[in-house]
């Protein structure tokens, strides 16, 4: 398999260069105790590793597997050629999000953080547990600032667009 990258997928030259110098040695994935955990997903093998899969697609940001990356940096530490697959995958995630292709769970989480300040919804059961344990109640007081931030950076627009497309 030849590593192919859609060059206009990212304007960060160093990321593109990094993907070009991957020698397909597999070190970043196949050493079970030190390398990429996503390799354990049943679709990958030493012949077609998780990192080859991410780096080898024509349109990497359309590859749902990019969402398996946990940003642990192990590939970066393990790679003898300083390829840094994590940087490539993170930029693909950003592009996918921009294009409305984010994993639905990720999209829900991002939208939730902006509108409530929390990644996970506050539930009646968690409030009750906190009260039983004598802990301060949680509140959504950060949400107002977060919505202003998301408005300014354009994230709110992306969320609205994505929601519109979903309907």
């Amino acid at each position: 398999m030849v590593i192919r990258v859609n060059y206009d997928a990212d304007d960060n030259l160093s990321v593109v260069e990094a993907s070009e110098i991957c020698l397909k040695c597999g070190v970043c994935c196949v050493v079970k105790e030190h390398s990429c955990h996503a390799q354990l997903d049943s679709q990958f093998s030493p012949k077609c590793t998780y990192v080859y899969d991410c780096l080898g697609m024509d349109l990497p940001s359309e590859n749902p597997n990019i969402w398996l990356c946990v940003s642990c940096h192990k590939c970066e530490e393990m790679c003898p050629y300083e390829v840094s697959p994590i940087r490539f995958i993170e930029s693909m995630k950003a592009k996918a999000f921009e294009d409305g292709l984010a994993h639905p769970v990720i999209f829900g989480e991002v939208a939730n953080i902006v509108s409530t300040g929390f990644a996970f919804p506050l539930t009646v059961s968690s409030s009750r547990q906190r009260q039983q344990l004598g802990l301060e109640p949680l509140n959504e007081s950060a949400a107002e600032d977060l919505m202003k931030i998301a408005e300014k950076t354009g994230l709110s627009g992306k969320i609205d667009k994505y929601r519109g497309e979903e309907l």
Binding site: H34, H37, A38, L40, D41, V70, H73, K74, F120, P121
Partner: protein
């Protein structure tokens, strides 16, 4: 020792009993936790910080600025929160252009990032600020005879230049923290393998089960009575995740998980009830018997 307390949303919403025991235990060690008003999600590194970097950095910078306004370093209870906040703190302290860009976004709020505080995981605070000597002096019931598999997790160690916690390929810090409890760290071969959080949430369940099964077997083979973690997501994987995976895989053993501060609480004389063990999903009678024996 006073810190701005960044409890993190996963722990405070899903695992509040860990917040309770953490506050109690740290308090007894002289760590004062200030309830800073207005913190939001860190934001979470895998889905947010890596997908919309500018917004993610601005949210993290806003959180850091709240602690700056109080003149306090941040104490966290989660590897993910530590990763997001330390990465952004590091990037914005080092890069003036990025700082200006983020502060321009923050000008919509009443906050600005100045770069005046540090972000510390509670394990770093125990190691460097409290000191293991002081921790050792608080141990009333050494957990003798207990073998503990230390799972450090990924985000707290990488990259070491930013996280400054431990060697990603040969982590030793958690084992030292286990030793101080009077218990024995397990020597298991898949020590640095991830807990599998993203595979469970965004990947295929078979892969996640395979990963968890391999990791648990490696701990079990090494004679572990339990696994100790310093991250709530890892905790959830080893607790709820183990319950589900072991049913699917038909495992005939279990490795109960404890947040490190729960184990420390036990060694300081807390009961199983005090540390909230009844809220855990993965149980092991062998583990509970050993603990009751140690607590006398």
């Amino acid at each position: 020792m006073k810190y701005s307390f960044f409890k993190g949303c996963f722990l405070s919403v899903r695992l509040p009993h860990l917040e309770r025991v953490s506050v109690n235990v740290l308090g007894e060690l002289g760590v004062e936790l200030k309830e800073t008003r207005g913190f939001s999600c860190c934001p979470e590194p895998v889905g947010f910080l890596s997908t919309d970097k500018l917004t993610g950095m601005a949210i993290a910078a806003r959180n850091i600025s709240l602690a700056e306004e109080e003149g306090l370093d941040i104490l966290t209870l989660c590897n993910g929160c530590t990763y997001s906040l330390r990465h952004v703190n590091h990037a914005l302290k080092a890069d003036e252009e990025a700082r200006e860009k983020v502060n321009e976004v923050l000008s919509e709020t009443d906050h600005q990032f100045r770069g005046t505080v540090d972000v510390k995981h509670f394990a770093s605070v125990l190691m460097n600020d409290v000191g293991l000597d002081r921790v050792a002096r608080k141990i009333e019931k050494p957990l003798k005879g207990l073998t503990v598999a230390g799972h450090t997790g990924c985000h707290i160690v990488s990259p070491p230049e930013i996280m400054a916690f431990d060697d990603p390929f040969d982590p030793q810090v958690l084992d030292k923290m286990v030793n101080v409890l009077g218990s024995e760290p397990a020597d298991f071969d898949l020590k640095t393998l991830c807990c599998g959080w993203t595979l469970t949430n965004y990947g295929d369940k078979d892969g996640a089960d395979k990963l968890l099964g391999a990791k648990l077997e490696s701990m079990h083979r090494a004679g572990s009575d339990c696994v100790s973690v310093i991250c709530p997501q890892c905790f959830y994987q080893f607790d709820m995740g183990q319950l589900l995976a072991s049913r699917r895989l038909g495992l005939d053993f279990s490795v109960p998980v404890l947040f490190y501060l729960q184990l420390l609480g036990l060694a300081m004389g807390y009961s199983l009830e005090d540390i909230g063990l009844k809220r855990h999903r993965t149980k092991s009678s062998g583990f509970e018997e050993k603990i009751l024996e140690a607590l006398g």
